[in-house]
């Protein structure tokens, strides 16, 4: 990996004057032109705007006004508004929509000097499987093996960061949509604590479950991005004041004696490679001085059911009128998934909401006895992507394992810890609400441990 392929490395090179932001952006645009015919990470590539912004970043640096993100090439999932660029949610409904203003998180990245290369692919409205009949573009391919899934719904963010087309990206996560593509593409992703990062200017799927968060090539890079975007937003229904001045600084040192629980409940479902990746993660965690503890877990299946009910009901509420007026503009999978929410009664939504409060209190209680939970972000490496995904809701009867973090508002970090049949697999850490800094500190320390042990996966060489 080139030291220009991480935010921290490129930022140091820019600060040392080894290259300019314009040169760095030109380099990434050339990479995009080479890889995009195979990867399809972008729905919109804004080369002209990126080069203009890069020149401004160089001027800002010359004037002594640089931050760690100044001149860094970044991308934004296409459910998040970037002023002047198409913002489609990968839907025919919004195929011609252009955003008039930046989302708050995007504005903060710009203010920090980040260079936005464009809008990244997403599942339709962050929910639907790819539908060739209504899709605006091909679905992204996994850069490790183009025949395999990129995950979703922040699919383009996962592929673009893994291939180093951009060094960081903004994704969204309602039930794993940052964490699954981070795992499948072998990068790092953070679903921040609820309220830490503004969602204003983002197409909602579920107001109570949605999070906007960073995706990057290392945990340190996530901290650098979070430093720019974590800020209370008065327009938000969820607001959380950041407890540290700098996540990059606070995560630079790993505390000793951290208490961890390795979640074993789902082990029978996991592939051998996923289990090995968790073993490697646990060994790295222990090497940081962490110690295992036993705690009573809250009802994880109930948390999943609460999240599924609330998110499904809320997404139906958001789309009901649009779907009634323009059903033909929705992909079949998105349309059917949304309609499931039509039959959830107000009584059952309130039931779920009240159970959410109770179960969240139990999770908060659990985190008095343990600092982090180590678990998996996916059952294994990315599966082969079918040419035409089959609509099936049979799996909805199963209990999921990522929604719990969205229901309770806790932060969840995913990063790569192993390989399985030539594809990356990762580990996930949970902590109590607003302890994102602890997750980042542990993740950075664990990445160092894995690198020293020669166990940290490398980067893909895209077959084009």
């Amino acid at each position: 990996m080139s030291d220009l392929d991480t935010i921290a490395g490129a930022s140091a090179a820019l600060a040392a004057g080894r290259l300019s932001a314009v040169e760095l952006v030109q380099d990434r645009l050339a990479l995009c032109r080479r890889l995009e015919p195979a990867l399809h990470s972008f729905l919109t590539l804004d080369a002209e705007g990126a080069l203009t912004a890069a020149a401004e970043a160089d001027a800002a640096r010359a004037a002594g006004q640089a931050t760690p993100l100044t001149g860094i090439p970044l991308g934004v999932k296409d459910v998040i508004d970037v002023a002047g660029l198409p913002s489609t949610g990968h839907s025919r409904l919004y195929a011609d929509r252009k955003a008039e203003a930046d989302a708050v998180a995007v504005a903060l990245l710009r203010k920090a000097g980040g260079i936005l290369l464009g809008k990244l692919a997403t599942n339709e409205f962050a929910i639907g499987l790819h539908d060739p009949q209504t899709a605006l573009a091909p679905q992204p391919c996994n850069p490790w093996n183009l025949a395999h899934s990129a995950g979703g719904s922040s699919s383009g963010a996962g592929t673009a960061v893994a291939a180093a087309e951009v060094l960081g990206a903004l994704g969204t996560d309602t039930g794993g949509s940052i964490r699954v593509p981070a795992a499948f593409n072998g990068i790092a992703g953070l679903k921040p604590s609820r309220g830490l990062v503004s969602r204003t200017g983002t197409m909602p799927l579920s107001e109570t479950m949605d999070s906007v968060g960073p995706m990057a090539r290392s945990v340190e890079d996530l901290a650098l991005m979070l430093d720019a975007i974590a800020a209370p937003d008065p327009r938000e229904t969820a607001r959380l004041a950041r407890p540290v001045a700098s996540y990059a600084d606070a995560s630079g040192t790993c505390p000793e004696g951290v208490r961890y629980l390795r979640l074993r409940r789902y082990d029978r479902l996991l592939s051998d490679g996923q289990l090995a990746a968790l073993d490697a993660a646990e060994a790295a965690l222990v090497a940081t001085g962490a110690r295992a503890v036993t705690v009573d877990l809250p009802d994880l299946d109930a948390l999943d059911a609460v999240g599924t009910l609330m998110a499904t009901s809320e997404s139906w509420h958001y789309h009901r009128e649009r779907l009634a007026r323009h059903p033909e503009r929705y992909g079949r999978d998105a349309k059917l998934k949304l309609m499931i929410g039509a039959l959830i009664s107000g009584d059952d939504y309130l039931l779920a909401a009240r159970l959410r409060d109770r179960l969240s209190a139990r999770v908060a209680g659990m985190f008095r006895s343990v600092d982090v939970v180590l678990t998996h972000p996916a059952l294994g490496a990315a599966p082969v992507a079918p040419a035409r995904p089959k609509v099936s809701f049979a799996t909805w009867a199963h209990a999921g394992f990522n929604m719990q973090a969205n229901v309770t508002g806790i932060p969840a970090l995913v990063f790569r810890t192993g390989m399985e049949a030539g594809l990356p697999v990762g580990a996930q850490l949970w902590a109590k609400v607003n302890n994102d800094a602890l997750l980042l500190a542990l993740g950075r320390a664990m990445e160092r441990q894995l690198a020293e042990a020669g166990a940290l996966p490398g980067w893909p060489v895209v077959a084009v």
């Binding site: 499904t312 059917l336 039931l351 009867a397």
Partner: protein, 66 residues
């Protein structure tokens, strides 16, 4: 929901304002609707085991009197 008498999902969806569905749509959608019904039943049982999710203004003794 009883397995013996499956709900008329098509009518329920129409009443809820969903667009028209053909038979193939309904066949694909039904497992998801059943799954949600199952999760709702699960949460109702859980809430009952917690003695409800709302703090009751009526004391337990009064409940028994009723």
């Amino acid at each position: 929901m009883s397995d013996l008498q499956p709900p008329d999902y098509k009518s329920l969806l129409q009443r809820a304002g969903a667009p028209d569905l053909d038979d193939a749509d309904l066949a694909d959608l039904t497992p998801g609707l059943r799954a949600i019904d199952g999760k709702i039943a699960f949460l109702r049982e859980l809430a009952a085991a917690m003695a409800g999710t709302l703090p009751s203004p009526i004391a337990a003794k009064d409940d028994q009197d009723v």
